[in-house]
């Protein structure tokens, strides 16, 4: 894997360097899949949507300009694809059941999913991008097209709301 930045790789791909795209795909296939996977219950559909995201990247490569980071560009494509998917399926909430989710106690996973489902969509999006995708506040702001201060305040309020579902202790206990 080279040390070139994402933006440099994308520009190289735009200029016809196919291996550059392969490297971008290797860097982002898991993060994008994970992001889509948490928003779409069906693993098969999540894989298709991830494929669509990279397909769109290829199809629109000529329109790419380095006006923002490549990461936010890619996440914005993914977010729009997910929104289209939800609109197509006439649903705005993630499915309640996810039997295929590995990596932990299904009951705990279900508890986390239900807690996230309680949040406002804007708050949930920020939590997902921050806690699971590791995007900085600035990057989240670019993906969602909102000010950084809004990201910070929404994230705090979302975490406080999640505390009541996931970790009812600490300050809450101290306040009692």
């Amino acid at each position: 894997m080279s040390l070139r930045s994402d933006e440099a790789l994308m520009l190289a791909f735009k200029d016809g360097e196919a291996p550059a795209f392969a490297e971008l795909f290797a860097r982002y296939k898991n993060p994008i899949y994970g992001y889509v996977r948490r928003r779409v219950g069906d693993p098969g559909r999540a894989e298709e949507i991830t494929q669509d995201v990279f397909l769109a990247l290829v199809q629109h490569r000529n329109g790419y300009e380095v006006t923002a980071s490549f990461k936010t560009y890619l996440y914005r494509i993914a977010m729009n694809r997910i929104v289209s998917e939800h609109r197509r399926k006439k649903e705005d909430e993630p499915p309640a059941a996810d039997p295929a989710a590995p990596g932990g106690d299904p009951a705990v996973v279900q508890q986390v999913r239900e807690a996230l489902a309680q949040l406002e969509p804007e708050q949930r999006e920020i939590v997902l991008l921050r806690e699971y995708q590791g995007l900085s506040y600035q990057e989240i702001a670019e993906v969602l097209k909102v000010p950084v201060g809004t990201v910070r305040s929404r994230l705090f309020r979302a975490k406080m709301a999640l505390r009541d579902f996931l970790a009812p202790s600490g300050s809450e206990r101290a306040g009692q």
Binding site: K29, N30, I32, Y33, E47, T50, V58, G103, G104, S169
Partner: protein, 445 residues
Amino acid sequence: MSKHVVEPEELQAYLDRELDARRQAEVERHLGDCRECQLVLADLKRVSEALQRWQVEPAPASLRPPAVEEAEPQRRFSWRRLSWALAGTAVVAVVVGSLAIPNLLKSRMATKPAPETARQQPAEPPADRKLDYLITPPPPPASAPARAPAERDRRGDLQARQAEEKYAAGKEGSGEAGGVLGGAPGFKAEGRVADEAAPLGAAGNRAMVAKSAVAPRMIAYWVTMTVEVKEFAPAKGKLLKAVADAGGYVAQASAAETPNQPQRADLTVRVPVEKLQSVLEQIRGLGRVVNEQLSSEEVTAQVVDLEARLRNSRATEERLIRVLQERTGKVGDILQVEREIARTREEIERMEAQRKNLLARVELATVSVTLVEEFQAELAPAPVGTATRLRNAFVEGYENFVGLLLGFVFFFARNGLVLAFWVFLFWLGWRIIRRPLWRLVSSRS
């Protein structure tokens, strides 16, 4: 409890190391003292830890990067897409057609030549000659080969012409037959041809057509000028003198003099066409020429047509007079012939008046001159009082308001249906392209 020097949401940012170094250190110091903030921070950490218990599997191995060749957008045939394209094309065609067709019709009407008259308005005359070149009579339209038979025809018909001239001179006694065609020099020699009485019948018509072909062009000129002068009264006097010296006259004059406003006079003068150039030069010399425009109208066809009808009427009159002289019919028939003679004479006189009028237009050019004094503002001798000015302002404001309202009413009365049509068209177009446009934007982003 210590005083909070940090916002609660800064605790999350502190946890995510999203604060700048100085603020990060301040929050850290505050956390050392504030038990409440320590508990909030601990809660935030616990929430993050709880969230991390939801992990998803890595991307499946079947997820492969799309091949670049396969990823090229391929447009497959679709009846739906075709129908949208046709609908869009129809809308564009309607819009373009509604814009282009009226203009096209206008341009065709504008380029269609007038059947009887031809106006000449030079776009850019040479600066040194200005309008001189238009005043010179243009060459006759007939080409040399076409003129030769006409000349022969004219010579062959000499005897008949002489007899008819004698008849015309004796009959009318007016002495104006021929010779005045075209006031400009050079018109007289050929101008006689057009005034000759031709014999009736096919041979006469042929001769008349041939003669018409050699008739000179008769052109009526008129000039419009605006001249700005320093001394108004002397300039006006010079203008009138120039017209009188040229043998012309003032056909119409009006003047206006308003306090604190430049003087202005509008004069329409008629001058012999051969003196037109010199008169124009003198008018130009009066001051600064603001604008000048020369127009002309060819009246040859009208004159030729009028003269042909005149010849026929005269011949008819002559025949009727012969019938009357023979006196072989009943009294009623004689009275009928006399009525016909009177009617024919009336026609002849009317046509002669028209002909004289046309020839006068050719002989005398019309010059419309607007003399404007150079404006020199002066103090108003008696300023209007404030109350009057206020009242006038109110009246003016009211009139403007009413005018504006009426303007709106007239505008919508005049254009309401067209506007409604356009609004409907745009609404329809928006309905048609809205969804494809939305899809296009969402797919590009």
